[in-house]
């Protein structure tokens, strides 16, 4: 009995020692980082951390006082800069809740291979952290800007990136996804952020303008270096090409010919908008007469969500015309992005090389080293099929008169 008690006591003591208490980090001892900005200052890394201020430590009432503080530190390496922060900030920075890593433009142009290493090697940072480039500025300049309802600027930026799915003019890319492409030798398109000025509407504010963030576009990397940007519309083409276009909008025009028989009772506009409900892009590479041909088939199901032109959509022919015009616009998005990638960047940002690898493995072994010189001259063929499966809650736009004959036919 005595022997068992001793053993039991030892086990209990060890259980306590090994219950992670030795590695625990008390919340009052750490500064929880929500966003990180990385820049170069001379040959040193300049880190800017957005650290959350626990409400209990704010002496003011809840809702008053800042939610976050900013900590800047320099170092020869990322961990050096991170630890140097403890010389100027009283809490140990804790990266497990960091949501975004913002790279300054100059740093991104220089190359980021050396700094990514720390974020995937250390246990604390998460691989699900979003990676983005501060377009036209150092990273710290786009930090500390809160233009929405989110609690903190870091969360505001994170939520903006999450919102990209409503328009597909941007993308969100995690560290893990970056590495998946990068380590496979593919070029990556990373999210961007820039600050913009807007007129201040709130009359109680003293300043005439307010600064907000905009995440439109994408930063194009060749290997680990930034080489340029895609615009918002080019990102739509990009998202179609990588088969990640759902819930986005296709905004297109149709000729006046299609509405010439309508009786307008109010002003008509130019644009129609289809919201994509389901999209599937199938890309493949074929060898035609010893030349590679990229074939892109896009199938879209969408809803005609806005019609400023005043189309009589009750006719089958009209719906067909809408489909055709929408498909043409999608093709335009894709061509624009592909052309920029081929002619301006001369870089395959869509992993088309991987399609060659899959379809023609032997050929790929021969041309993989020269792929960046082959890609700019790659021929392509795009085929877009659009199905408009819903037209919303009205059958006739409010700016045209209802065709009574058609209503009778429908009865």
């Amino acid at each position: 009995m005595r022997y068992k008690s001793i053993i039991l006591s030892i086990i209990l003591i060890i259980a306590v020692l090994l219950s992670s208490c030795t590695s625990s980090q008390e919340i009052e001892d750490v500064g929880i980082v929500l966003a990180t900005g990385i820049d170069m200052e001379g040959d040193k890394y300049l880190l800017t951390h957005e650290v959350i201020v626990p409400k209990s430590s704010v002496s003011d009432k809840i809702g008053q006082g800042p939610n976050v503080q900013y900590v800047q530190s320099k170092g020869d390496t990322i961990i050096d800069a991170l630890r140097n922060a403890s010389l100027v900030f009283d809490k140990k920075l804790f990266l497990a809740h960091n949501r975004v890593i913002i790279l300054g433009e100059d740093l991104a142009k220089r190359g980021i291979g050396d700094i990514i290493n720390f974020y995937v090697s250390d246990v604390e940072p998460r691989e699900s952290t979003l990676l983005l480039v501060a377009k036209g500025s150092p990273a710290h300049e786009v930090m500390g800007i809160k233009g929405g309802l989110s609690d903190t600027p870091g969360k505001y930026l994170f939520d903006l990136l999450e919102n990209h799915r409503f328009n597909l003019k941007a993308r969100d890319l995690t560290l893990n996804e970056f590495l998946r492409y990068f380590l496979a030798g593919e070029n990556v398109v990373v999210s961007t952020v820039q600050k913009i000025e807007q007129k201040e509407i709130d009359k109680e504010e003293e300043k005439p303008n307010r600064t907000i963030l905009d995440v439109t576009g994408g930063a194009v990397f060749r290997k680990d270096r930034l080489i340029g940007y895609y615009t918002g519309d080019e990102m739509k083409g990009f998202n179609f090409l990588i088969d990640e276009f759902e819930n986005g909008l296709i905004i297109f025009k149709m000729s006046d010919e299609v509405v010439k028989d309508n009786k307008f009772v109010a002003r008509s506009g130019q644009y129609l908008v289809v919201e994509v409900k389901a999209s599937k892009t199938k890309s493949k590479v074929e060898l035609v007469e010893d030349k590679l041909l990229l074939k892109i088939d896009v199938n879209i199901e969408g809803v005609l969500i806005e019609d400023t032109k005043g189309l009589n959509i009750s006719s089958q022919a009209m719906l067909e015309a809408v489909r055709s015009a929408c498909a043409k616009k999608v093709e335009e998005y894709i061509v624009r992005t592909l052309e920029k990638s081929q002619k301006e960047f001369k870089t395959d940002t869509f992993s088309i090389g991987n399609l060659v690898h899959i379809s023609y493995p032997d050929l790929w072994k021969e041309i993989s080293d020269d792929w960046e010189s082959i890609f700019p001259d790659l021929d392509y063929k795009i085929n877009v099929k659009v199905d408009v499966i819903r037209v919303g809650l009205i059958n006739t736009p409010v700016n045209i008169e209802i065709d009574e004959e058609r209503l009778k036919e429908n009865k």
Binding site: I10, S20, S23, S128, N176, P361
Partner: protein, 370 residues
Amino acid sequence: MKPTITSRQLVALMTTSRIALAISIMPTINIPPHNQDTWIVVLLSIVYTHILLAPLLFLANRFKDQSMIGYLEVLYGKTIGRIIGCLYGLYFLTNAFNASTLQSELVSTSILFDTPEYLIVIGMMITCIYSVSRGVEASLRSVEVLAPVALGIIVILLLFGINNFKYYLLLPILSDSSLIDVNLGALELSSFYSEMFYLTMLIPYLDDKDDINKIYIKSIVYPLGLLAIIVIICQISLGVDHMEHSNFPFLLYVRSIDLFELVERIDSIAVVAWIMTSLIRVSAFLLISVLAFREILEKDERDKIILPILGLILAIMTFWSISSRSVIIYRGDYNLIRVILFVGLTIVVPILTCIVYFFRRKSLEDTLSQ
């Protein structure tokens, strides 16, 4: 009454022990052909493993009432049999050492990075030694309880990653690998399968000895089948190159899980599976090592010396090893030794033993009939 174990318990032990290796360092990704065809290598290794371990199976079928140490003494005579038995006992201890160093480094790298190594080693060793001290029956009964939990966790974690699956990462199939690469890879992967020795050492305790062949097939097909699924899922989530850069690919996979923003940051669940499977692996190799030395030194289950001595040696070696260098990074340096030990003790000695058996079969049968 002699303790007995069921075939289900033995299959659970062999499966879980092999999976422990897969979900920690996943050696599969570091063997040829180092590309998207790795899962084919795993499936092919099922065939190679069956072939390579066939001599051990044959001997197990011939000596159903004796452990490996027992029939070595019968076939080679007491002195030579005991020397070879000692080699096997040390080999089992080496396997326990490999498993314990991996587990200690994994824990100290990924979760308890501030905890002193000696505490991790002491905690692990006390658990394993206690488990082994309860005897074969109790150890296998605990495996029967823990294995489904651990394997269930692994399967659930594999399903949780569905959002990240990119199936094209498995393509092209068998285009970048030569037939030689794939076969060499499968052979090398087979050399990681040491679990057959659980069967050879625990046969005397088996309640139904006619199940040996079934246990043999199941205990190779189940873990390697599950390993193929683990490799495929990690590959289509992370990509081959990303996996190869990682010390713990399965942990990396679990860290990347984000299912509809509801299921994320569930590394601790994977750690539970790791700890369970690794403790089973370390305990099982320690157990058969103890059984081997007890048989060589003619001690019975009441012996209180061998287990503490082997446990202490294991603890000191583990502590010394993980305090001096990273076993994960430098494990490649010992690969040749591992392969030599595998070839020697899993293929060469059993084949020689089979040959000796054929020559001595007649005299053995006469002795047994007398």
